[in-house]
């Protein structure tokens, strides 16, 4: 599994499609896909937004988040794309704080189990692992 991270709008998806010769249709969009089909395709982008939706629906908390890692591990997913969201001011809103903590936890776990981790800066990759 390849994990691709980077700031918002740093052309992560375009990079992944081009580099790994994959079609956009083969990538699930975490912003809007049905929650039970999130990991049914070759890859997923906007994982952070899927995490947010899970949390908004009460499906994800610090007690059960490892289940999402297991789900991904048991799927055929090859590419995961997620925004890095941990570097701003600590949000005043409790939900926003828990959300960015959750993204950090999950992406750290995914980093550990991915064979390759890339960080994209304006479309340019830096290999962090693999």
């Amino acid at each position: 599994m390849i994990l691709i991270i980077g700031g918002a709008y740093h052309n992560k998806l375009a990079y992944a499609l081009k580099t790994y010769n994959i079609l956009k249709e083969d990538m699930q969009n975490g912003r809007q896909c049905p929650v039970n089909e999130a990991f049914s395709k070759k890859g997923i982008y906007n994982l952070h937004l899927l995490i947010k939706r899970y949390m908004e629906q009460g499906l994800l908390n610090s007690e059960n988040y490892f289940q999402i890692i297991e789900q991904i591990n048991n799927s055929n997913i090859e590419i995961i794309i997620c925004n890095e969201i941990g570097s701003g001011i600590i949000p005043l809103d409790k939900f926003e704080r828990e959300y960015r903590d959750m993204v950090g936890r999950i992406v750290s776990e995914l980093s550990a189990i991915s064979h390759k981790v890339e960080r994209i800066y304006y479309g340019i990759p830096t290999i962090l692992k693999g």
């Binding site: 700031g7 918002a8 709008y9 890095e84 993204v103 800066y121």
Partner: protein, 167 residues
Amino acid sequence: MIYLVSGGVKSHKSKRAESIAGSFNGEKLYIATMENKSEESKKRIEKHRLMRKDKNFKTLEIEKDFEGIDLSCFNVVLLECLGNLCANHLFNGGSIEGFYKDMDYLMKNAKNLVIVTNDISYDGLYYSKEVQDYIKTLNNGASYIAERADSVIEMVYGNMIIHKGSL
């Protein structure tokens, strides 16, 4: 040569960009895109002016629409900064097409070019649609330049990460 220099606030991105541009011989043009009407901008502009006063830049204050500027007599052009240029296009009577036209104009006509931009994409907060569009347009623009640049540099509090090319 085209250089893209990015970073957060106070990352020393301007200083680095000025030192890159300063390493070129010949005439140097500094294109300042910040609106110069408010007191706060005036202070920032003055600070940047002092920073480069011994570096022999000619300064051109222009918010957008670069077509027609004669760049032929300059060996290097420094644009400060892409974030302001983008904002001037989105919020001050320009357009996304105009934004790209300005970037293309500089990349095509400047003999050497240093572009400063700022990276505002790591906080995960959802702003108004207007602001989201701004972040998206700015970063797409920066990626567009990064693809064409010889060198892409990220500044972190005075430290340099070279993502592409060399200094």
